[in-house]
Symmetry: C2
Subunit: 378 residues, 2 copies
């Protein structure tokens, strides 16, 4: 087991969570080959940093890749990787399952995370499934209704009064002292779990572009590492171009990328409807920035109006996603990609979790007696 800091290059023999330079660490590239198997965990058995505890899997991963007719509007061949059909209805389950497998094997009795949304629900659910206790640190302002979808799984939900932004590092520090394994947004095992998205895409097609809603940078790094491992192992002939997509109202990575800076800076006063990707100081921001430059990839930011429009376009094709999950489609409008290229956009989480922000359609009334007329009208 060897981890490396992608920024300063320092290596570690144990699964630390961060490099001493403050940046994230990651497992070195794995070598291996795919097998025949029902689940993604089995088919890519060689590529995980810890043996997946399949007995506690909830069937995460192996999500559909749906061909979208929206591609026609943009002159590309568009495919949607629908991560909203994971066990707790977001991509987080892939990372949570793998990080939980490690926590169990390493002997932890309690795990934790810092999140109010998808990741909170995911960690709460899998902790119960694995028979571990969970401490879910949520922000002061999180609504009771939203937290119900987290606490229902049995994890202890803790509203932290104070600067929520400090919690990422604070939780790792305290967790290490107290023997609580925090699996935050870019935890090294979590990142490895997200590789499955790249593996599954590659089983079906070789994309030219992959659009990735980007907040902490964990998902982006996971998908990138997945494609890199496929490439380095000779399983695909070339790397797709990965595009990090952020909301204009909170786009620290895109801003630093555009301005040619080596490091991201905190994005002051973040404001966007895409709350799931509204991290103002992403812990993997510099690592993502480095990947974008190294491989000539891209970063695109989209406005709330563009996000709303994309969310509606997706719903009108049968896929109801969170605002954050629609950013990839919103980006398509701006990217002006070459005619006919193959594009995959990752739909990260279910719209049911953010029902309040959903674009409402038309609702009419009709007395039973005149139903015939109501059905006839178009």
């Amino acid at each position: 087991m060897k981890l490396r800091c992608p920024i300063c290059g320092r290596t570690y023999e144990k699964p630390v969570q961060r490099c001493s330079c403050g940046e994230p660490v990651e497992f070195e590239l794995f070598e291996g080959e795919p097998y025949i198997g029902k689940g993604v965990w089995e088919r890519f058995w060689d590529f995980w940093p810890v043996e997946p505890v399949l007995e506690f899997s909830l069937g995460e991963g192996d999500t559909p890749l749906v061909k979208s007719r929206l591609g026609g509007e943009f002159g590309v061949r568009l495919y949607l990787k629908n991560e909203t059909v994971n066990p707790t209805w977001s991509f987080k389950d892939r990372g949570t399952f793998l990080a939980m497998s490690y926590a169990l094997k390493a002997g932890y009795k309690t795990v934790g995370t810092v999140s109010t949304g998808n990741m909170a629900a995911s960690v709460s659910a899998y902790a119960s499934r694995f028979g571990l206790k969970a401490k879910i640190l949520v922000s002061e302002s999180a609504g009771d209704e939203k937290l119900k979808a987290v606490s229902v799984y049995g994890g202890e939900v803790i509203r932290v009064l104070g600067d929520y932004g400090r919690l990422y590092f604070e939780s790792l520090k305290l967790g290490e002292k107290l023997g609580v394994y925090f699996m935050n947004s870019d935890n090294p095992f979590r990142i490895e779990g997200y590789k499955g998205i790249a593996f599954e895409i590659a089983e079906e097609l070789t994309p030219d572009y992959v659009l990735i809603p980007t907040s902490s940078g964990g998902l982006f790094r996971g998908v990138a590492k997945g494609f890199l491992e496929l490439y380095e192992n000779g399983l695909i002939d070339g790397l797709p171009k990965l595009i990090a997509v952020q909301a204009e109202g909170c786009s620290p990575i895109c801003r630093a990328f555009k301005e040619g800076k080596a490091k991201i800076e905190r994005f002051e006063n973040p404001k966007t409807i895409a709350k799931a990707i509204a991290n103002p100081y992403p812990p993997s921001g510099n690592a993502v920035l480095k990947l974008l430059r190294e491989f000539g990839w891209g970063c695109v930011s989209v406005s709330d109006n563009e996000i709303r429009k994309a969310q509606e376009m997706l719903a009108r094709e049968g896929l109801f996603v969170q605002p954050a999950s629609a950013t990839g489609i919103a980006a398509l409008e701006k990217l002006d990609l070459p005619e006919g290229v193959k594009v995959v956009s990752i739909l990260t989480g279910s719209g049911l979790r953010t029902l309040k922000d959903a674009p409402a359609g038309e609702i009419t009334e009709c007395p039973l007696e005149t139903l015939k007329d109501c059905l006839r009208s178009t």
Copy 2:
């Protein structure tokens, strides 16, 4: 294409929706064999009454079968068929996709359904995906927030003022006149789509019992027909015992079964938290009753308290379902099954759709300064 009334035996050469005797019709048993393929539609290609329009599939079906440790508490081997990870997060998508495939091929431009919940969302979504218009007839009392998750897909949501109970037959009658294809709860194509649940279960194990939340009877009949076709085609050695599960507050089928009646009667003043299975006069009630008697199967009703407890037990294993979807586990408590038998319980829909009814867990507060103590406490 041949359909038959399971009650009076009359046959039809065209896909009518109901027999002239008022009962549902169903396709005769299909003959065939399974193939190797990625999706359930391809693997069981011989068994569908219409060619599935795979180009418009959203990846419905092929849901995980999750081994549950709850089995230990009841002395059985328990597996959960997690239908909450379908594209609109309920089992309805399987039936909707197949019925929509028929509607498209038959040349309909508009489809409809009578539902306020899972089926409404499913038909709204797939109609948009297939490029058809949808008329979704909902009850007067349905809340705006709940309907958002339906209208977002683009279907026209119509609040019908008047006796909602009359709408099932009224919509079929008007639909036929106006050329609107209504795919209600026990539409014959819908039933065929649900067979996939049985097929997928049989690919993994041979259950002794299958627990099925039962409202209109459509899901029950579909799963039953799936196992019957497997059996008649020599693909399984014996039939599992199917158990229809209803809520005590609305259990017309269990009541008629227990009282030895040949026909169900309307259940007056239905009242249960399991709203997705609260049909007081199920259109396939008599057909289900006949199946139960013919094969020596069973019907169990469970109280709201038992449902709540089961919902919590499932959430504490990582699966957050609607109250209706927890009835199978609630039934386990009452069934007193033989030691060690293999039981599959079908989890029909996501708990996110009924968040208000979810059992809330503990939420505490903690100032950032004392976080260490909050993390330490158990």
